[in-house]
C-alpha cells in the first residue's frame, strides 16, 4: 500500500492559536485545517494559513462532504474543496464516514448510518467518485456515534475495512471516536483497532470528550483521557509510524497544554520504539 510519508506530531489549526504559532514557532510538526473554514474568498483565515503553511506541512480535514448522504454529491462544494487543495497543496484530504443532511438541508453534524450492505455500496461508490473528481486518494475517518441500529449487518470495523478496500481509500483512525463509540455501543475498542486495515491508516486523531455516565459525547473540549491514551498506545503498536495529532475545538487551553499532549505522544512512541528495538536485538 502506497501511503504519504508520516508527518510526525500535529495539531488542529484554530484561530485562537494563530498569533502564538507565528510568533513562537512551537515544536509542532504539521497542522490540520478544517477545510470549510478556509473555503472563503479572502481575509484573515487565508492570510494566516498562507503564512503558517510556508513553514509547516498542512493537511485538509473536511466535515461537510456527507459521504453517506443519499442526497446527490454536492459538486459545488467539491469544486471549492478542490480549489482550496490546489492552493494549499495539503499532504492529504480527509472527511468522515457520515452524512450531514438530506433534502438539501445540512445539520452541520456527523450523523450515523446503519452498517448495511446498502450503506456500504453507497459510501464506496461516493468515495470513488470523490477520488476521481479530486484526483487524489481520500482519507476517511470513523466518526463518533451515539445510536446504533438493528438493521446493521456488520460491525463498524468490518464496514470500515470493507469500505477502505473496495474504495481503495486511506484511513484516518480517530482513536477517541473509537473509544466513545465503543463505550456508547458496548463493543471492544481494541478489536476495532485490530480489525481495520493498518496498512491504510495514515493519520491518528486524538481528542477529549464528555462523559455523561450513560453515554459519552465527542466534544473536543477536554484533555485526552487515560483510556484513550491506552488505546493510542495499542493503535500505535498496530499501525506503526502514522501521523498523529490533537484536535481541540472548545474550552481552549493555553497552547502549552496541547504541546504537552503532543509530548505525551512522543514519549509513548519512544517507549514503544525502544521496546521493539530491544525485542529485535
Amino acid at each position: 500500500m502506497e501511503k504519504p510519508a508520516p508527518l510526525g506530531y500535529g495539531l488542529g489549526l484554530r484561530p485562537i492559536y494563530y498569533e502564538e504559532i507565528l510568533s513562537s514557532r512551537p515544536p509542532i510538526d504539521w497542522f490540520e485545517i478544517i477545510s470549510e473554514n478556509y473555503m472563503l474568498a479572502g481575509g484573515r483565515p487565508l492570510a494566516m494559513l498562507e503564512r503558517i503553511r510556508a513553514d509547516y506541512p498542512v493537511v485538509m480535514h473536511g466535515v461537510s462532504m456527507s459521504l453517506a448522504s443519499t442526497d446527490p454529491l454536492n459538486f459545488d462544494y467539491l469544486r471549492q474543496l478542490k480549489a482550496l487543495a490546489e492552493r494549499v497543496q495539503p499532504a492529504w484530504v480527509s472527511d468522515h464516514i457520515a452524512w450531514t443532511g438530506v433534502h438539501g438541508v445540512t445539520l452541520h453534524d456527523l450523523l450515523p448510518i446503519p452498517y448495511t450492505r446498502e450503506s456500504l455500496a453507497h459510501v464506496v461508490e461516493r468515495i470513488q467518485r470523490v477520488q476521481d473528481f479530486l484526483k487524489r486518494r481520500l482519507v476517511v475517518e470513523n466518526a463518533s456515534t451515539y445510536v446504533s441500529f438493528v438493521d446493521s449487518e456488520m460491525s463498524e470495523h468490518e464496514f470500515v475495512r470493507e469500505m477502505a478496500e473496495r474504495a481503495d481509500c486511506l484511513l484516518l483512525l480517530d482513536v477517541n471516536n473509537v473509544f466513545v463509540s465503543s463505550f456508547n455501543h458496548g463493543f471492544d475498542p481494541v478489536a476495532f483497532i485490530d480489525g481495520v486495515p493498518a496498512d491504510r491508516v495514515v493519520q491518528f486523531h486524538m481528542a477529549g470528550h464528555t462523559n455523561n455516565e450513560t453515554h459519552r459525547v465527542d466534544t473536543h473540549d477536554q484533555p485526552v483521557c487515560d483510556e484513550v491514551w491506552a488505546l493510542y498506545e495499542h493503535a500505535r503498536r498496530r499501525c506503526g509510524d502514522v501521523s498523529a495529532m490533537i484536535e481541540r475545538d472548545d474550552n481552549y487551553p493555553p497552547l502549552a497544554e496541547l504541546l504537552d499532549e503532543l509530548q505525551n505522544m512522543r514519549d509513548i512512541d519512544a517507549r514503544i520504539s525502544k521496546e521493539q528495538a530491544l525485542s529485535a536485538a
Partner: protein
C-alpha cells in the same frame, strides 16, 4: 428500511424533536448497553444541532444580543433555526440570511432597530472574509495630470458596504463589543432618524465608520463609478455652498487613508456621466 428513508426519519427527528413521527425510527435503535434512553441519545444530535447553529448566530451578532437581551435574542434564534434550516455545507453562511428573515417575518419585521443591527453585523461578517485586494494610497493621485482630476474614478475594496441604519445602531454596536460591555445595551429608538455607515476590511479586520449624509452620497456615487468631477457637480453638493468641494476632497483623502480605495483611473469620455444616480 432503505438508507434514504432512514435518513429522512433521522433528520426529521433532529429538526423537529421528539414526537409521534419518531416511532418508526425508535424501532430501529438498538438499546444502549449503558441504559441511556433512546430519547436521550437522539437528543444529543438534536440539541447539538440547535446549539451549534445558535452559536454561529451569537458569534456573528453580539450587538443584536445586546440590544434585544438574552431572552428575546434566544427567541429570535429559535425562530430562525426553526424556519430557516441551514442549507449550505459551510456553516459560515448560515447566519447570512438572518436580516432577511427578520424583515420578512411578522414577529420581527417591525423591530426596525433590531433589523438595522442585524444588517450592520452581517456587513461586518461579510467584510471579514471578502476577496483580498491591495489598497492604494493617496500618492496614487500624483500619477495623474491635474487636468484629469475631474475625470478620476475610483475602484473600491470589495469588502466595502454602505448602509442606511436606524440612528444609534453604530453607537449601540460599539458599546456591545467594547471591553467593558454592559449586559444589555439600550436599543436605539426606531423612528424616522437614520444614520449612515461604511463597513469594510482593513489589515484583516472588519472596520466601520459613521458617515455624514453628504459623504454617504459621495461615496455611493464614487463606488458606482462616477468621476470625482461629476460628483462635485451633483445638485446636493452644489446646494451645500462653497465648502462642498473642500469637504469632498477631505472625504476622498479619508477613503484613501482608510484603505477603501484599490484603484484609480481616468474615466473616458464614452463613460462620463453628467447625471449621477442620486443627483
Amino acid at each position: 428500511m432503505k438508507l434514504a428513508d432512514f435518513q429522512s426519519l433521522f433528520q426529521q427527528r433532529v429538526l423537529a424533536g421528539s414526537g409521534e413521527a419518531d416511532k418508526p425510527l425508535l424501532k430501529k435503535l438498538r438499546p444502549s448497553p449503558r441504559g441511556a434512553t433512546p430519547e436521550t441519545l437522539l437528543d444529543v444530535y438534536q440539541t447539538g444541532y440547535r446549539i451549534r447553529l445558535a452559536d454561529f448566530v451569537s458569534q456573528d451578532h453580539p450587538g443584536l444580543r445586546a440590544i434585544l437581551g438574552d431572552e428575546t435574542f434566544d427567541g429570535l434564534v429559535d425562530d430562525y433555526i426553526d424556519q430557516c434550516p441551514s442549507r449550505d455545507p459551510n456553516a459560515r453562511w448560515f447566519t447570512t440570511g438572518l436580516p432577511d428573515f427578520m424583515r420578512e417575518n411578522a414577529r420581527w419585521r417591525d423591530d426596525g432597530a433590531a433589523v438595522s443591527m442585524a444588517l450592520f453585523e452581517r456587513a461586518m461578517v461579510d467584510a471579514f472574509d471578502s476577496a483580498d485586494e491591495t489598497p492604494v494610497t493617496v500618492q496614487a493621485l500624483a500619477g495623474f495630470a491635474p487636468d484629469d482630476w475631474a475625470r478620476l474614478a475610483f475602484e473600491f475594496d470589495p469588502s466595502l458596504t454602505l448602509l442606511e441604519l436606524v440612528a444609534g445602531t453604530i453607537e449601540a454596536y460599539s458599546a456591545a463589543i467594547s471591553e467593558e460591555a454592559p449586559a444589555k445595551v439600550d436599543k436605539p429608538a426606531a423612528g424616522d432618524h437614520i444614520e449612515y455607515a461604511a463597513v469594510w476590511r482593513v489589515d484583516h479586520e472588519s472596520a466601520y465608520r459613521q458617515l455624514e449624509p453628504d459623504e454617504y452620497v459621495a461615496l455611493s456615487e464614487a463606488r458606482a463609478g462616477h468621476a470625482f468631477g461629476d460628483i462635485c457637480q451633483m445638485t446636493a453638493f452644489q446646494q451645500a455652498g462653497e465648502i462642498a468641494p473642500e469637504r469632498l476632497a477631505q472625504s476622498l483623502s479619508s477613503w484613501f487613508e482608510d484603505g477603501m480605495i484599490i484603484g484609480v483611473r481616468v474615466r473616458g469620455d464614452d463613460q462620463s456621466s453628467n447625471t449621477p444616480s442620486s443627483a
